[in-house]
């Protein structure tokens, strides 16, 4: 039974992937892409990687889908023709096919992966958390995650550099106009409280079960986006001090926790097992807040309304 389920899932993933890149129509491709992301998330669940599934569904299908739809809407408004047939890009297709074949060969040539080595089992009780994914992300390979949190900030800073000078200082994103009794306004009232609950729960549960700063932060970002798109909240101005503090809080708490380890003589990013649990929770909460704000700002885009000085 499970084999049939997996075979159907694989066929669906491949079919939807093919439908995304084949044929014409940007809107159609976006819809298939979102479906593809959700199916891949189900695939990750089947592989037992629930954390990856959460991230794939939230970022791969959710936020990326919103971005694509926004870009599609803009192409249409600016008359850049959303659905004109684009010529097939042969070199890119050949390169993609080549890499796919090579990776397919490698998959068959490689031995089946081992369970994680004994080092992980020995170290996990000292990490301060029970979820091995959180232990790897925030403790064993904390340096990667600290740098990744700065990568998000670099992406947002870079995105803001696309602002026209005349719009600098304005509210981020396009101004939203929503009919007060429309569907979007209704969503804007109903979804955010629910999403808030789910997001906070995911951050809180991350220490022991699938969830954590990235997954929870993404859900919280979606809450902010829905509220902003529904006109329930107005996005902040680009230079607003409080929001800038929210952007750096996560990396800053992470960096300070790492330096505290060095100052106490334990070593950079070293958390003594007695306090590791509490320290990781503090890092996780601060990271989730920063990730939520950064992702929401990234999707909203740079300010666009020319402000009069």
């Amino acid at each position: 039974m499970t084999f049939v389920l997996d075979a159907v899932l694989c066929a669906l993933i491949l079919g939807v992937a093919a439908a995304t890149i084949a044929g014409h129509g940007v809107f159609r491709a976006i819809v298939f892409f979102i479906v593809y992301g959700l199916l891949v998330a189900v695939g990750w669940v089947r592989l037992g990687a629930v954390d990856v599934a959460l991230a794939e569904a939230a970022i791969g299908a959710g936020l990326t889908g919103v971005l694509f739809l926004a870009a599609y809407g803009r192409l249409g408004r600016e008359g850049a023709g959303g659905d004109a047939p684009a010529p097939a890009h042969l070199p890119a297709a050949m390169a993609g096919l080549g890499v796919t074949c090579a990776l397919g060969w490698a998959w068959s040539a490689l031995p089946l992966p081992d369970r994680p080595g004994p080092q992980l089992a020995e170290a996990l009780p000292m990490s301060g958390v029970e979820n091995p994914v959180t232990a790897v992300l925030l403790n064993f390979r904390a340096w990667d995650t600290l740098l990744e949190s700065v990568v998000l900030l670099a992406a947002l800073t870079g995105l803001w550099m696309l602002t026209r000078d005349a719009a600098w200082g304005g509210r981020i994103g396009l101004p939203q106009h929503v009919r007060p009794d429309g569907v979007m306004a209704g969503f804007g009232r109903v979804l955010p409280p629910l999403g808030l609950l789910v997001g906070v729960y995911l951050v809180y549960i991350g220490a022991d079960r699938p969830g954590g700063a990235f997954q929870g932060g993404t859900v919280l970002a979606a809450v902010g986006l829905v509220a902003a798109l529904a006109g329930a909240v107005r996005p902040p101005r680009i230079g607003a001090t409080r929001w800038r503090a929210a952007l750096v809080a996560g990396p800053l708490v992470f960096l300070l926790a790492g330096l505290a380890g060095a100052a106490l003589g334990a070593g950079f990013l070293t958390l003594p097992p007695q306090i590791a649990g509490a320290a990781l929770f503090a890092i996780e909460v601060a990271l989730a807040a920063s990730i939520a704000v950064t992702l929401a700002f990234l999707v909203l885009g740079p300010p666009e309304e020319t402000i009069t000085r």
């Binding site: 700065v150 992406a155 503090a245 950079f268 990013l269």
Partner: protein, 481 residues
Amino acid sequence: MNALVVLLTLPLGGALAAVAFPAGVARGAALAAAAGTVAAALAVASEVAAGAPPRIALGGWPPPLGIALAADGLSAALLVTTAAVMAAVLLAARHTMAAGLAGPRIAFGFWPLALMLWAALNAVFVSRDLFNLYVGIELLSLAAVGLVAIGGKPEALAAAMRYMLFALAGSLLYLAGVALIYAAHGALDIDLLASRRPSGTDALALALMTAGLTAKTALFPFHVWLPPAHAGAPAPASAMLSALVPKASFVILLRLWTEALPDEASPAALTLIGALGVAAVVWGSLGALAQSRVKLIVAYSTVAQIGYLFAVFPLLPLAQAAWSGVIFLALSHALAKAAMFLAVGQWMAAAGGDRLEELRGLAQAMPMSAFAFALAAVTLAGLPPSGGFLGKYMVMTAAFTAGQWVWALPMALGGLLAAAYLYRPLAALFAREGASVAAPSRARQAVPLALAGGGIALGLASAEPLALLANGQPPIQAVVR
């Protein structure tokens, strides 16, 4: 506090401060962080030189569970060169990237992006973990793309977009290779991989990682994104992008081919990389000859100079001198190219453009920055007594020792071509026509001059850098297959 930890965390802390605080405070915090980072780079280099290279297992978790950081001679040389270039760039930017002159958008973005770029470079130069290196070059690429976009003009935004597409494609290919390595060996640490049991998929992994990293380094034929991106950014940003950013992915490649997987370095693969390097020398130089804007000439010159770094690859397993030689070429290019872009930035501010005819006679108004450009040209053309000369000399010696004189030819040919394409801007600068422009102060002109002087000094006082590099130099592969 450990100097290595300061080196990694201070630029990150400075970048966070630059995002959080208003423009004036941000610039002060960024400059303070920069001063501390320069000191930390020197401290790390002196530890390496004293024979006590720092090494950390982060979090107290040794690989394969955790990430190891270590500084060797190669790291130390690049860390110090990077510190010199960044110090000069930020000093130059103190005036030109202030809110009054550049506007609030650039004054907000430049400082955090520059410090994130620096933090990423330092992280890459000392990391021993292939996935951590991926995160490092990801941060580097995003900061670099942001610095291109700072230019703000439509051409700059298009160049930034193209750069980002190349950089992301490169990242994905590199990541695919890293995944194959991890699947086969369960380890990502360079030292663990050096003593691994070879797997049938290692060659494919190395090929994928190399393809990805050469796209990020802008090796021919993946160079097309480089000239518009480097020429479209403001001068201090161009200096960082051209002098430093390609060096990070190059260092990863060097470590992959000589430290982590030297047994996979087949002569055929090395010859292919070398041939692409030679093609880059020729193509980049011809491109530079065809330009009429000095910024584009300098940017195309980077394509050619990156070619040298790869033309040396076939010699790496055969002769010790090739390894030191290629690093000397990388270091002297960093100093000379940053000097050139900073000098060009001053001319553009004074003359209003960078077309060759707009620069005629500028040497009379700005003798120091013109002299800086000329000294940097000496290094790029590989004339004695510069570091560029010494690097080429070592590579050519290695070529003759290994009985592979073919690889000495691009060094000589590239020097001639560089002399040809750098002659035109120099001739325009030193033309006997009085140009009346508002020149920047002598102190500001001294910044590129100091960098260009550094490129020459690298050749004059080569004993210390050579001794530094000898720390942790990988042995050559004695058996030629």
